[in-house]
Symmetry: D2
Subunit: 123 residues, 4 copies
Amino acid sequence: MSSSIPPTDQLAALRLEIDRFSEVRDWRQFHTPKNLSMAMSVEASELMEIFQWQVGNEDFASLSESKKEAVAHEVADVFIYLMRFCSVTGIDPLKAAQEKLKLNDAKYPAGVVKGKSDKYSDY
Amino acid sequence: MSSSIPPTDQLAALRLEIDRFSEVRDWRQFHTPKNLSMAMSVEASELMEIFQWQVGNEDFASLSESKKEAVAHEVADVFIYLMRFCSVTGIDPLKAAQEKLKLNDAKYPAGVVKGKSDKYSDY
Amino acid sequence: MSSSIPPTDQLAALRLEIDRFSEVRDWRQFHTPKNLSMAMSVEASELMEIFQWQVGNEDFASLSESKKEAVAHEVADVFIYLMRFCSVTGIDPLKAAQEKLKLNDAKYPAGVVKGKSDKYSDY
Amino acid sequence: MSSSIPPTDQLAALRLEIDRFSEVRDWRQFHTPKNLSMAMSVEASELMEIFQWQVGNEDFASLSESKKEAVAHEVADVFIYLMRFCSVTGIDPLKAAQEKLKLNDAKYPAGVVKGKSDKYSDY
């Protein structure tokens, strides 16, 4: 994306570009919500695979440049399918995330969960 | 997010809010890249689970309101962990997606793949 | 596995072979329950990826021979990591499956769920 | 499964029971290879979720009894869908695993990979 596009529109511009990418290839027919949810899950798994056999908690900074690049590519794939899923379903990802953060705030009160990682159903 | 925030900064504002949410709970210790990649994968799976037993290609619009809301919540969870992963690793998701789209454009030339869903390694 | 091994012991023999495969490579150190659960999830995703863009419900028989072989390999990978997970944790997979089937039988009474695919929490 | 069934047939008996469970509920219509691969992936993810926020390499033995039981249930779910997938596709899981172990043996020569966790494409 050219740097002449104001940051305002970067997320919207990305979504438009992803949609155009799919339409030009006539991929709408494959892009059902079900299939896109599978694609997102597959890409999230490919990201995870990179960390799969780590035993310690190696810092991201300590990864080789080629692994860092692989991580960025998988992050991009998840992001792209997530945005495409939102276009196909009409979900506003920013609004959905804001609402979910509010729910999470109620489910995980800071004073109660501080420094703990248990699932809310365990409190 | 208040509507007084210009759209410019909505993605940046969301990331800040997610980071603050985590820091206030002292969750940085659990938020290794490995663990966050797992969390993203788990949430993507929860999204997928909603579509798991569909046999036809039911339209998203035909889902019940409660299922649509569940879908929006899972989309939000994937988005939130994706943004958190980017904060922890220093990856710029917009830039990463732009670069990946360019690579995909070369891997899947529109003239060759139009209307086909094969993996690039099959061409 | 040689056909001289009675079917009795085929699952046990497979598990022994998987364990020996890992021990000879000194991989026990990487095979924590957490890491093995990730590996199982990654392999299940690779299996799923083969079906990802199907729109209709193509029959398995209609897949190309190379895709059928790829499916068998991914099924094998999930199975291998599942057995390895059981060895490392001491879980008896046959017993666990029997017990779960009993629970499922109670959760999904045949008379109630016949021909329906809803989750038990929806009944 | 009653202990009167010889161990010979335990895996076969389990598969029969799983198939009967599905047929009695008229679930064959939902059990396409695609949908079953999704179900397997969802269950593998639920297993993984239990270990998601572990930071150290907590031993399985140190988990609470209720977490150990949850682990066994998720292992069972993956196993059940794996066996069902095999019934629907006609894949022999024992044979597939044996063949894959042979391929892995060639891809990961014990002398080369001992104590290392790199992917074969990195050697």
